[in-house]
Symmetry: C2
Subunit: 207 residues, 2 copies
DNA sequence: ACATTTTCTTAATCTGCATTAAGTTTTTCT
DNA sequence: AGAAAAACTTAATGCAGATTAAGAAAATGT
């Protein structure tokens, strides 16, 4: 039987920074050598589905940026139930901000919902980057402010909307996630049990 | 009847920037002329209890910093109930971040819980400040990141704790606010009705 | 000082969502 | 392909917290 020859295996591989760099380029412009320095601080990693990147109790030392797949952050309550704080599809940063900033134990876990690829930066390198290249203060300020705006409105939604309204909201806000996520994860994000979400979706719909 | 002569009325008055400037000094150090420029962008205002500073639907054009009293931001749901997002005692910034950033109509209202004094900066001046004095990128990045960390954990608390636990949390986090706020406002912040909070506090306590 | 408004309390009733449990379908692993 | 695990569904029962209502206490305005 004939086999088509495989592509040669590369033992070094090109890190895929294009997404991250183009995201950064929307806010600041970098000289070639600035970019090179920045890139030198990055690490790459492939993670398998369900693999933990951060566990509650650890100190969060990495800023994770997703290039492929999807991560999530979540906390586990005293009854063992998981509550999703954030999903991170490609193009998103994800971390336990409180732990990163204060270097205290994290309350959040971070894991992969599907096989994924990430780029990450270590906290000391992050601090060094900001000292050496103050331009990045701007980029990360914008990032933090946008995230802050999002959390403000999400909190309001949580205080003032019903489960059904929160679900509709989620669908509108993250149409691509709705298609790719298990219902269970969506339920956890909007703050209901999987059983209730299932019932809600199957009794509300006019057949 | 004898009257003690009043202090002469000053028609200019010293703005009280000390709180704000010392807060800034914790993160960046300013030359005298830098400080002077920054101060030149600030405005001062006294607000009476219940006075609205931002109304839902308006575009939020001011970054407000509280020097005395207490402000709050809140949204009103379709049944007319208020939901408090944030309290701002002295030393805190308060704004509808989404509206400030995108210059779209705000979902939040901001008003004074008691007679207060604020310092505010206009959005165009804020943008100009950051362009002219990039140091401030650092200050506002730190601010935004801290706020973000706080909202992340608050969201988790909301997803995973009972009303009683959220109340206990609030007491621990903001002991001075608990003493000065009407119970009603606290109820709205933790996401329960005033009736339920009252019942909770008066039946849980062993007499 | 008194009238008005706002806040707090108590209690009865109601409901949105949780819990439990068991069965079914889909996905994942070997 | 077949077994195991994970995700989804359905239904009965339970409960934390909402709603409604009405009175008491406290704060506020004039």
């Amino acid at each position: 039987m004939w086999h088509r020859p495989r592509k040669p295996v590369l033992h070094y591989f090109t890190m895929d920074h294009t997404l991250l760099l183009s995201g950064i380029a929307k806010h600041i412009s970098l000289e070639k050598e600035e970019e090179a320095y920045f890139v030198s601080l990055l690490h790459q990693k492939k993670v398998r589905k369900k693999q933990l990147l951060l566990e509650e109790g650890e100190i969060n030392s990495k800023l994770n940026y997703v290039t492929e797949g999807c991560l999530r952050s979540y906390a586990v309550d005293k009854n063992g139930f998981e509550h999703v704080l954030q999903f991170a599809p490609p193009g998103w940063w994800i971390a336990d901000m409180h732990s990163i900033l204060t270097q205290k134990p994290a309350r959040l876990n971070i894991d992969a919902i599907e096989d994924s690829e990430i780029i990450f930066m270590l906290k000391p390198d992050f601090d060094a980057l900001l000292l050496r290249m103050p331009k990045f203060e701007h980029y990360f300020r914008i990032l933090a402010q946008n995230a802050l705006a999002t959390y403000q409105y999400r909190q309001i939604d949580h205080l003032s909307l019903s489960a059904m309204e929160r679900y509709a909201n989620f669908c509108q806000l993250y149409p691509s996630l709705i298609r790719s996520l298990p219902q269970k994860q969506v339920a956890s994000y909007i703050g209901v049990t999987p059983e209730f979400l299932s019932k809600m979706l199957n009794t509300m719909i006019i057949k």
